[in-house]
């Protein structure tokens, strides 16, 4: 019987002890701490009266690079957003919508009603059901007074907000970015140099470097992708990029040496403009007046005309103008920034005012007597520069070798009514046949 008494006393002692162990690690409950965090971030975001700059990366794995954005959060629940590129509104224009910090597993910044700038990146289309795969809800990963690191909830891309401490006018910033990008669009390739060693070469596609390099240990060719945004004087990588134990993120453009130089302390790295061996001429070198020699109606007698090559879309296309022989504004010439070459591909050049039909420039294989009827490339003729021949700079147009068994050596101008062929554009001032074209520079 005594045993029972002692056992009971023991139980009583334990029971009493158990009551004392209810010590919380945190002084406040989880819900109150979450609420406090929401309030804290809410105040922090609204505290920057000059707003925040942020680099917004849409798409899975931030694969097309990022865009500069400017956001101004107000404590009344409104946020004004503008972006460096044209969205649903022109570049740089701001639009206001509502923002809030909401409680989920952690604090989440939400742009919960429609903003024509922000949600341009997330809205789907009937023709493209995934749209641009941008985020509109962001988990707060880290926050300090001047930097807030966010992460998209749906697609996981980073979105880092930087307090506009210098009170920079966003319009000025955006136009600086646009000018810089415009200037840099001339260069299609760069090479990556780390501590004096050339690591590899990268083409630039959509604000992303894909650096091809050889892994010395594995003896394998590898590629590493690095996405970035433009700043007014350089680039900012998506996240700190580590290669061979060197971590880098900020690069500034050095115009004299044509390279992006890393500005992070103690880092010796740069991306310099790279011209492959077969690179021909730079975009600007094609601009100007040229004498065009070609075979027209006659295959034995040369015809000549003075053509002018002018900018259409900088570093991408030109218009070749010649009122002497073209009854329409001109034909499009494409520029390949990676190879420094120009091509004339199949395209609709203009509407013929007399008939209302489309004037289509068609690649023509005179030997086989075949023309390519497609309304767009890739079939066409490509220019070869007389690099090694000396003398005046001239470019000779030949087969671009994408049309299977046919080898175009010239162009034929045709008329089209929609997709229906009407026939050769016989009313063109200079005729409709242009074969064996060579252009020779007269003046820049």
């Amino acid at each position: 019987m005594k045993k029972i008494v002692y056992l009971s006393m023991l139980v009583a002692v334990f029971a009493l002890n158990a009551c004392k162990e209810d010590n919380d690690i945190f002084e406040e409950s989880a819900s109150i701490r979450l609420q406090n965090a929401l309030n804290e971030y809410q105040e922090l975001l609204a505290s920057s009266t000059n707003g925040w700059f942020g680099d917004y990366y849409p798409e899975e794995d931030h694969k097309i690079g990022g865009y500069a954005m400017f956001l101004k959060f107000n404590s009344n629940g409104n946020v004004a957003v503008s972006c460096e590129i044209a969205t649903n509104v022109p570049a740089g224009e701001e639009r206001t919508s509502q923002w809030e910090m909401i409680a989920e597993q952690g604090p989440v910044l939400s742009f919960a009603n429609y903003n024509p700038v922000m949600h341009y990146f997330s809205e789907p289309y009937a023709s493209d059901v995934n749209g641009r795969m941008g985020d509109y809800e962001f988990v707060v990963m880290k926050a300090s007074q001047d930097t807030i690191e966010l992460k998209g909830k749906k697609h996981n891309n980073r979105f880092v907000l930087r307090r506009n401490t210098g009170n920079i006018n966003p319009q000025t910033y955006f136009s600086g970015v646009a000018e810089f990008e415009d200037k840099l669009s001339e260069f299609g390739m760069f090479s990556f140099v780390l501590k004096g060693t050339r690591i590899g070469v990268t083409a630039v596609i959509d604000r992303t470097f894909s650096i091809g390099y050889q892994d010395e240990e594995a003896k394998l060719d590898k590629t590493v992708k690095v996405a970035y945004t433009f700043t007014p004087d350089g680039i900012l990588l998506y996240e700190p990029f580590t290669f061979k134990d060197v971590t880098m993120q900020n690069f500034k453009w050095n115009a004299a040496e044509e390279k992006y130089v890393c500005t992070d302390p103690g880092v010796d790295a740069y991306f310099d403009v790279y011209f492959p061996e077969d690179y021909e001429l730079r975009y600007g070198e094609f601009i100007g007046k040229w004498n065009m020699q070609y075979h027209g109606a006659s295959t034995t007698t040369w015809a000549n005309a003075v053509v002018e090559i002018v900018i259409k879309k900088k570093n991408a296309t030109y218009t070749m103008i010649c009122p002497e022989i073209f009854s329409f504004p001109g034909i499009e010439v494409a520029f390949d920034a990676q190879k420094g070459i120009i091509s004339i591909l199949n395209h609709n050049a203009a509407i013929d005012e007399a008939t209302g039909y489309s004037i289509r420039i068609c690649a023509y294989d005179r030997t086989a007597g075949y023309l390519n009827t497609s309304s767009t490339g890739p079939v066409g003729i490509v220019g070869n520069w007389n690099k090694d021949a000396g003398g005046a700079r001239s470019v000779n147009f030949v087969d671009n070798k994408v049309w299977g068994t046919y080898h175009p050596n010239g162009l034929i101008f045709r008329l089209y009514n929609g997709s229906t062929s009407i026939g050769n554009f016989t009313d063109n001032i200079g005729g409709y046949r242009f074969n064996d074209i060579t252009i020779t520079k007269i003046e820049d």
Partner: protein, 303 residues
């Protein structure tokens, strides 16, 4: 004596255990989940949706409430206001007028979630609305609504979804007679309803008012109600005319056609609504139509 001691001990033990029980709830609610200040629209929603109808009107899109398969954009504040006013006027107040506010309060879905963009499936088809278990209705493509000039045909598609889903809630609470499903029990095809061979014309000839109605009796039942109410008598007559023919377009003997089956189904639907819910289906449609025809009188651009 000894026994008394033991009992005392036991008493102490049990008291000691009791004393632990002082875990009272804190005074702070754990349901404050946003820092956004209340707007006029928020207050309007409280007094026009939450308090009268017990409905949470979520015009701010929330990822965790939305379909993860879709890329989406939220609704604008302006379009949300217009949608809130339209839904109240044409859906909630129609039922309220016919059946009273307590009915609406009890049976309406508890959450309405607005999405600005369409919900595009990977095959490029688009959905306008979905409902989950009678609890939540999600309406898509709200940004396409023009508050100045509502596209009635388009708006009818929203209402079709809503009347469809709301009718599910009704039959889930009070079942309809089994006779209904017996009428065409061999022609329900489950998920195959969307096969290209299961055409609308075929559905009509078999006594269904839509292709989707062939999925199963419950869908058939609510398709009857939603199409009857939302698209009106003219449309219904047109369906009956088509349903009176066979697959080759020849008239079928009266009494044996799809139209006859649809008429029998409609009788069951009407009787069920009358007996179980005191709802006159024709009256419901009359009220709905009057309201739909007068939406140009609504001020959808102001609260």
């Amino acid at each position: 004596m000894k026994k008394t001691g033991i009992y005392l001990m036991l008493l102490l033990v049990s008291l000691a255990l009791w004393s632990c029980n002082e875990d009272e709830p804190g005074s702070e609610s754990i349901f404050k989940d946003s820092t956004a200040p209340q707007t006029d629209f928020d207050r309007w929603l409280l007094s026009n949706y939450t308090y009268p109808y017990n409905i949470m009107f979520k015009y701010k899109m929330q990822d965790i409430e939305s379909n993860k398969d879709f890329e989406l954009a939220p609704a604008t504040a302006d379009k949300s206001v217009a949608m809130a006013k339209l839904l109240k006027y044409i859906w909630l107040e129609t039922y309220e007028e016919v059946r009273g506010i307590d009915f609406v309060r009890t049976y309406s879905p508890k959450v309405i979630h607005l999405i600005g963009s369409g919900g595009y499936n990977s095959n490029n088809s688009v959905i306008l609305g979905t409902a989950e278990g009678g609890m939540k209705i999600t309406l898509y493509d709200v940004n396409d609504l023009n508050p100045e000039n509502v596209d009635l045909v388009r708006f009818q598609s929203y209402m079709k979804t809503i009347f469809h889903e709301f009718s599910h809630i009704l039959h889930q609470n009070k079942n309809y007679p089994l006779d209904f499903g017996e009428l065409t029990k061999n022609d329900y095809v489950q998920a195959d309803w969307s096969e290209s061979t299961e055409t609308l014309a075929l559905a009509y000839t078999k006594g269904f008012v839509s292709r989707y109605a062939r999925k199963e009796p419950n869908e058939d039942f609510v398709e009857m109600i939603s199409i009857y109410v939302v698209y009106g008598q003219q449309n219904w007559d047109a369906i009956l005319r088509e349903a009176a023919k066979d697959e080759n377009g020849a008239l079928v003997t009266v009494g044996e056609s799809g139209a006859d089956i649809i008429n029998r189904k409609l009788e069951i639907v009407k009787q069920y609504l009358r007996d179980s819910w005191s709802i006159d289906l024709n009256e419901l449609r009359r009220v709905f139509e009057i309201r739909l025809a007068s939406i140009d009188q609504l001020d959808l651009t102001h609260l």
